[in-house]
Structures are given as structure tokens and as C-alpha cells.
């Protein structure tokens, strides 16, 4: 085996660092809201420290240098040499954002540092060094610069087992300044004979000298995680000129050099940036609770038992065993279903990971808009499919922004309306049937009926003077290109309207609606399917082929007489359905199937709906309902118009799943033609 290729751990590093940043952000927001829990500061510090360590290990020097400064600042907070105030939290939150951007750039192979990050680093640096210089008496000996440190570091035997490695520590120390090993020694605890040596035990000690004007906190930070794993004595190098004490800034000298050296190795990979970026987008990983894995293993065990029972029956089968066979098959079915559920559950993640970004968003918006918002989160533990979860974030952000920007009033207006100054914004997620319901409710002014109707008239969506019910008015805000914001703020009115929210949610197989009461607030409700991988479908027959129509998009299935179908100019066919003329689409013609029923009166028309538009599909017969596991056609072939994927029927054959949106568009085109 050659040298370990560190790049294989990069993805884990990025993921863990992003998680660390999330934790930092959450803790910072908690501090901001007045919590004085000292553990929060530790959490922030630890997160910063592990990002720094990881970044240094994997050669992301820019990230390490930036985090190093932030960490120094946090160290002052941790040791209560610096008070936490709004400005500091603002700065640290900006640092979190900056680090996120740096990590994103690093992961796509670009140099992590840019002008913005350097400016921010400078800002942090000034704060750290400024404080140190101005540090009064008591803090001075610690913060003031020294010429170096004498470190006596004796590992306890179990040090290696905790995942610590002295070599890594030394490397980390070397980053701070020149490291000199004055003495390394074997402890008495080491076995006398080599044969008795347990390689997982460490019996070594070192006396080290670290040269340079380095803050004690930085040295401590290196040994931060060795609590109880080693004996440690750190002493300032004495007898040297104290004149340097006036200049504590060199504490930051090593990181200041780092970016320069880092740009060189970082530059070549930039060429591969696009390639690696796409690769990382595809192969994301998931963290699965051990209980879920255990449940899976248990179920697998049961399945094996059932299988062996069945094969036993099959081996010596006679008709007296028919009943046992039936039992066995029933058990097999149960096992399979449970196994399926458990496997699907692996992909399920709590929605809390999406909710967690809102405290920050709300805080920023509050400042920007001069409003007061009390954010309530409920049902963070509700789980939904990872894919759904990744795609629901943006629509939710949009709705939350809208609620604060348009829904909630300014404190003055609220007072005038007899409401508390702070508006309440509630995010709630829960299961309802086979769906996840996410509700975003505010106690603001509610939808502005007059403004919406006015805008709709202006846009030509409704006629002036037309009578509209509350529901119809609410529906209007989902119309394409509709925005009532009096002036375009940078929050809303950027042309991305509620129609995009609705389309995104629809793409996930969900729906979004709104209920509003003037003066009391609005409630947006998003219903999402539990998973994208399985749909409830209606199996239809067309000639020799079977097609699955997603159940959620079916309005009704009916038989039509031949006389009900009218031919319109251009060759399209329409039929009347609940007072409307709908295009009739002969699926056998659209999909070119041989041997299908061509007379309308002998087949069945399935009315499907997509985005408010309806089309009748002519099929031969309905064969029943089935849960269809969606398989991609694109994986081995390519996209096919009118087909969203394929599934495998109980007899092992393949059936295509009708893409309702695509088919409806095809149908509309034929009607227009």
C-alpha cells in the first residue's frame, strides 16, 4: 500500500464542516437571543476548531487560516476575556457565511479565499490583536506575546485509541511556529519485552519547544481534545526579551503567510472544477441512525427464516402442506412489505435540517425590514425523503420571506391594530395520511384583497368588476408573473413569484394552497408525498402494453358514447366533461401501440389533470391499482417524451409510467392545432 490518498476524505470533511457551520450558526443565534449558556460558546469553539484542524490536515490552507483567526477570537470569548455583543455575533455570523462560501469554492477546486474573505479575515484579525494590545493587567500575561512555549507532553497509554495521533498534533503545532523536539522518551509503563508491546498503546512522552510569539490560546487549542488522554505542562519561555510584548499581532503571522502558499497548489485543480462539482452533486451521502440499520438487519433475518421455511416446504411438497405454504407466503409478503418500508425509511430525514436555516433568515429580515418576528418551529422531527427535502428548501424560504415582507406588519401598524409588537411566524410539519403537511402561518395583515384584485385586473387575469370569492382571490397570487409588492425590494419582487413556488412543489408531486383572513394573517399549506420513489398508480391496458397513470392526477374514469366525441377543425377531438370541452387523446396513437381498441365507446377515458389543465386519455381497459416503484429510463437509455419512468409489474415485465404533464401538453397542442 502506498501513501494514503487524502482526497477520498475530502467529501466527508466538507460535509462535516458544513454541519459544523450549521451548529455554529444555531448556537450563535441562541446566544443572540440572550442565552448565556456557556456550553453554547464551547459548541461554537469546538466546531471552529474541528474545521480548522480538518482544513489544515487536508491542505485547505485558506480555510484553515481564516478559521484560525475566528478561533482566536472565540478563544477570547471562551476564556471570558471578551464579552458577547450584537456586533460580535454579527461578525461571527458573517464569518460562518464566508466559510460556507470558501468551502463551496474549495470543493469545486477553486482557491477558497477571495477579496471578501480576506477583508473579513482582516476585520477579525484587527479585533483579535486590538483586544490583545488593549488587554488590561490581568489578561496581559496570557495575551501578551512571548518568545515561545516549553511543552511537556506525556501521552497516556490509551491516547491512540481515542483517535488522537501525536504526529498530527506536532504538525498542528508546527503551523503555529518553529517546533523543536528537545527530548522524546519512553515511559516506564512500556513493557520490558518487545513481544509484549501492544501497538494500540502509546508509552511515549515529549519535551517540546515552540518558538515564536504565539498566543497561549492557540497552543491550548491544539491540545483541546486531549483532555484526560495525556499529561500536559505548558510554560512560557522565560528570560527572553519582553520588548516584543508590545506587538502581539505576530500571533497571526503564520496564517497570514498561509494563503500565499496555498494559492499555488490550489490553482491547478481549478481546471477540473466543473467535473468534480458535478460528481459531488450526484454522489451525496446520507447519515442513517443505527436504529434504522438494526431494524433492517432484524427484518433481513426474518426474511431469511421465511425463505428457508418456504424452501423446506418446496423440497418435500405434498398437498397436506398447502396450508403451511399459504402461511409462509403470507409471511413472506409481510416481511417484504416491512423491509420495503424500512429501506425507504433510510432515505427519510427530519425536516429540522431545513427548518434550522430559518432562525438566521428571520433574524436578517427583521433587521432589514424593521419588523419584529417571533419564529416558532413545530414538528422538526417529521421525516421526509431526502430528495424531497433538498428541493423543498427554496420554496419554503420564499414563503417565509413573503410572510415577513408582505404578511407581517411593522410594530407601529401592529400596535395600531391592537396586536403585540412582534409578529408570530409559525412553521409546522406533520404527517397526514400518506403526505407530509408543512404549514407556514403568520398573524399579519392577511392577503391584501384590493391590491391583488387590482393587480390581476391590470394584468388582464380577471375582468374589472368581476365578482371573486376569497378562494379565487387567493388562487390569483399563484398566477405566473404575479407580484403585489408595491415596490420591488431585494427580498421579493425579483420576478420569482408564487407561481415558481407552486411549480416546484408540483414537481415534487405535492400541492400548495393558501387561506387568509384580513387582519388576522395567512396560512400557506404545502402537502408533499412521503417519497418520490414510489407512486400509487392505475394500471391501464393499451393493446399489448401496460401503462401506469399516477393516481394523484386522475380526476375520473368514464365510458363515452361515440356521439360524445366531436371532431374539431385541424383533426383534434374533444368531448364534454362537467361543462367543459376537453381534448381527447388516444394513448395508442400518441404512443403508437398496435392492437389497441380504437372505438371510443369500447374503451375507457381517464380524465387526468396537470396544473389545472385536463385531458381525456383513451385506454383499452383499467387493470387495477398498484404501487409502482419508479425506475429511471434515462439511466441506461434516454428521456422519452410523455413518459416519466418505468416500473416492474408483478409478472416481471416492464410498464411505462405516463408523464401526466407531458401528455397534457401534447393534448393541449393537438387541441390548439
Amino acid at each position: 500500500m502506498g501513501a494514503v490518498d487524502l482526497t477520498q476524505f475530502h467529501k466527508t470533511f466538507f460535509e462535516e464542516s458544513l454541519e459544523g457551520l450549521d451548529a455554529m450558526e444555531t448556537a450563535l443565534l441562541a446566544l443572540d437571543s440572550g442565552s448565556t449558556d456557556h456550553e453554547l460558546v464551547h459548541t461554537i469553539f469546538r466546531a471552529a476548531h474541528s474545521i480548522k484542524g480538518g482544513a489544515a490536515t487536508f491542505g485547505f490552507a485558506d480555510v484553515a487560516a481564516f478559521t484560525h483567526v475566528a478561533e482566536s477570537l472565540l478563544e477570547e470569548v471562551r476564556s471570558e476575556r471578551r464579552a458577547v455583543d450584537g456586533a460580535l455575533i454579527d461578525l461571527l455570523l458573517r464569518s460562518v457565511d464566508c466559510l460556507r462560501a470558501m468551502l463551496a469554492r474549495s470543493s469545486s477546486g477553486q482557491p477558497a479565499a477571495d477579496a471578501g474573505s480576506e477583508t473579513l479575515r482582516g476585520e477579525l484579525l484587527r479585533l483579535v490583536s486590538g483586544e490583545a494590545a488593549a488587554a488590561p493587567g490581568a489578561a496581559a500575561p496570557q495575551a501578551a506575546a512571548v518568545d515561545g512555549w516549553d511543552i511537556r507532553f506525556v501521552a497516556l497509554p490509551h491516547l491512540l485509541q481515542t483517535g488522537n495521533d501525536p504526529l498530527r498534533l506536532f504538525r498542528e503545532l508546527e503551523q503555529l511556529g518553529r517546533l523543536e523536539v528537545r527530548r522524546a522518551f519512553v515511559l516506564d509503563s512500556a513493557p520490558a519485552r518487545l513481544a509484549e508491546l501492544d501497538p494500540s498503546q502509546c508509552h511515549l512522552g515529549w519535551e517540546l519547544r515552540l518558538h515564536g510569539a504565539i498566543a497561549r490560546g492557540d497552543v491550548d487549542a491544539v491540545f483541546d481534545w486531549l483532555d484526560g488522554d495525556c499529561e500536559l505542562a505548558i510554560e512560557a519561555l522565560s528570560g527572553q526579551a519582553r520588548a516584543a510584548a508590545a506587538q502581539p499581532a505576530p500571533a497571526a503571522a503564520p496564517p497570514a503567510v498561509a494563503p500565499a502558499s496555498a494559492t499555488a497548489p490550489a490553482a491547478p485543480p481549478a481546471r477540473e472544477a466543473t467535473a468534480s462539482a458535478t460528481a459531488s452533486a450526484e454522489a451525496s451521502s446520507i447519515r442513517v441512525g443505527i436504529d434504522k440499520v438494526d431494524a433492517l438487519i432484524n427484518m433481513m433475518g426474518e426474511l431469511v427464516i421465511t425463505q428457508s421455511m418456504l424452501s423446506d416446504i418446496g423440497e418435500h411438497f405434498d398437498f397436506t402442506k398447502l396450508e403451511r405454504l399459504r402461511e409462509g407466503l403470507a409471511q413472506l409478503e409481510r416481511n417484504t412489505r416491512e423491509l420495503q418500508e424500512s429501506v425507504m425509511r433510510i432515505r427519510m430525514l427530519p425536516i429540522g435540517s431545513v427548518f434550522n436555516r430559518f432562525p438566521r433568515l428571520v433574524r436578517d429580515l427583521e433587521r432589514k425590514l424593521g419588523k419584529q418576528v417571533r419564529l416558532e418551529l413545530h414538528g422538526e422531527h417529521t421525516e421526509l425523503d431526502k430528495t424531497v427535502l433538498e428541493k423543498i428548501g427554496d420554496p419554503l424560504v420564499h414563503l417565509v420571506r413573503n410572510a415577513i415582507d408582505h404578511g407581517l406588519e411593522t410594530p407601529e401598524k401592529r400596535r395600531a391594530a391592537g396586536k403585540p409588537d412582534a409578529g408570530t411566524l409559525t412553521l409546522d410539519a406533520h404527517h397526514e395520511g400518506g403526505n407530509i403537511i408543512v404549514r407556514i402561518s403568520d398573524d399579519g395583515a392577511g392577503l391584501n384583497r384590493a391590491a391583488i384584485v387590482g393587480k390581476a385586473v391590470e394584468r388582464g387575469l380577471v375582468q374589472p368588476g368581476q365578482q371573486l370569492s376569497d378562494e379565487e382571490v387567493a388562487e390569483l397570487i399563484f398566477a405566473p408573473g404575479f407580484s403585489t409588492a408595491a415596490q420591488a425590494t431585494d427580498l421579493s419582487g425579483r420576478g420569482v413569484g408564487m407561481d415558481v413556488v407552486r411549480r416546484n412543489v408540483r414537481d415534487l408531486g405535492g400541492s400548495v394552497g393558501v387561506k387568509s383572513e384580513a387582519g388576522k394573517g395567512s396560512v400557506f399549506t404545502i402537502a408533499l408525498p412521503l417519497t418520490l420513489a414510489i407512486i400509487d398508480g392505475l394500471v391501464t391496458a393499451v393493446g399489448e402494453e401496460r401503462y401506469i397513470v399516477p393516481l394523484t392526477s386522475i380526476v375520473e374514469s368514464l365510458r363515452l358514447g361515440a356521439e360524445a366525441v366531436r371532431r374539431i377543425a385541424g383533426g383534434g377531438e374533444v368531448f364534454q366533461f362537467r361543462g367543459d370541452y376537453l381534448p381527447l387523446m388516444r394513448l395508442h396513437r400518441a404512443f403508437a401501440c398496435a392492437g389497441a381498441i380504437t372505438e371510443v365507446e369500447r374503451g375507457i377515458v381517464v380524465v387526468i389533470e396537470d396544473d389545472g389543465r385536463r385531458v381525456g386519455l383513451l385506454v383499452d381497459d383499467l387493470l387495477g391499482q398498484q404501487q409502482a416503484v419508479i425506475k429511471s429510463l434515462e439511466k441506461h437509455y434516454q428521456r422519452v417524451q410523455g413518459v416519466s419512468g418505468a416500473t416492474i409489474l408483478s409478472d416481471g415485465s416492464v410498464a411505462l409510467i405516463v408523464d401526466v404533464g407531458g401528455v397534457v401538453r401534447l393534448g393541449q397542442r393537438s387541441k390548439a392545432a
Binding site: 401501440c593 429510463l633 441506461h636 410523455g642 415485465s653 416492464v654 411505462l656
Partner: protein, 168 residues
Amino acid sequence: MYEDNAAAAPTVQQLTFDLAGEEYGVDILSVREIRGWSRVTRIPQTPDYVLGVLNLRGAIVPVMDLRLRFGLARESYGDSTVVIIVAVAERLFGIVVDAVSDVVDIEPAAIKPVPDMGAIVDTRYLKGLATHVERMVMLLDVEKLMRPEDVETLDAALTGVRDVEVAA
């Protein structure tokens, strides 16, 4: 043992099959599986040589008829009709051939370029011609076979442009 042989004579192993009386070969390293003919599910809006898709242990794999792909008449599918599942990159597809014949070792030196036959014969899916025990084996270029139609059309159009430039 096997590796020793390979080292001694770096031959290319080809799976040969019969198609309309001719012998073709496909690199054995790209062959994943050989299976008997079974009904496939048709896909709309595809060229006629793509017969449809089949279920290969849960994967949805397209199947093409090589006769149709080469512009030959379609044979009715019988007992000896087989589907060879080949893999290009991560993608799988099946090709329907009349019958599988043999696995042969072919020395790279024995592979000759395909002569230019003009527009009459479609030779773009062939990598080369090889002689094996007095027989001629046409070596298939599976990557090209699998390319979507529009890429080919584009390629053809570009080739046309180049030809014009040369002529001018």
C-alpha cells in the same frame, strides 16, 4: 495462469455472433450477459431499431435489433435468437442477434481498418475487420452503436461540412 497467457500474447477476446449470415465480434470485456429472447416493452417516440426495454434484475435496459440498425430486414425471433447485454461506461443495453457463435482470441495485428465503401454500406459502427482461421470477423464499435441518433446526425452534418471544405 490466465494472466501469463495474456502477457505472452496480448490478444483481444471477442464474442462472435451471427447476423444475417455474417460473423460479427464484440469485445468480450463489454459483454455483461447473454440471454434468450423475451418480449420487451415498447417505448414511444424511438427509432424502429430500438425494440423497447426489458427488466434486467430491476434495471430498465433498452434493447436494439442489430438487423434493423444495419438496415437489414427484420427476422422473426426464434429459439436461437439471443440478446447480448453490453455495457458502455455505466450504461447497459441489449442487442438482438441471430445466434451467438464463439469466443475467439484475435491478435491486434490481425485487425485491419474497414475499407471505405462510400455511402452504399454503413460502416460507421465497425471498429475494424479481423481474420480468424480463414474467416472474416467484423468488429463492432459498441460505443458508437449506443450513441443517440441526434449526435450521429450532427456528426454526419459536420462531416458533410468538412467534405465540402476539402472539395472547395
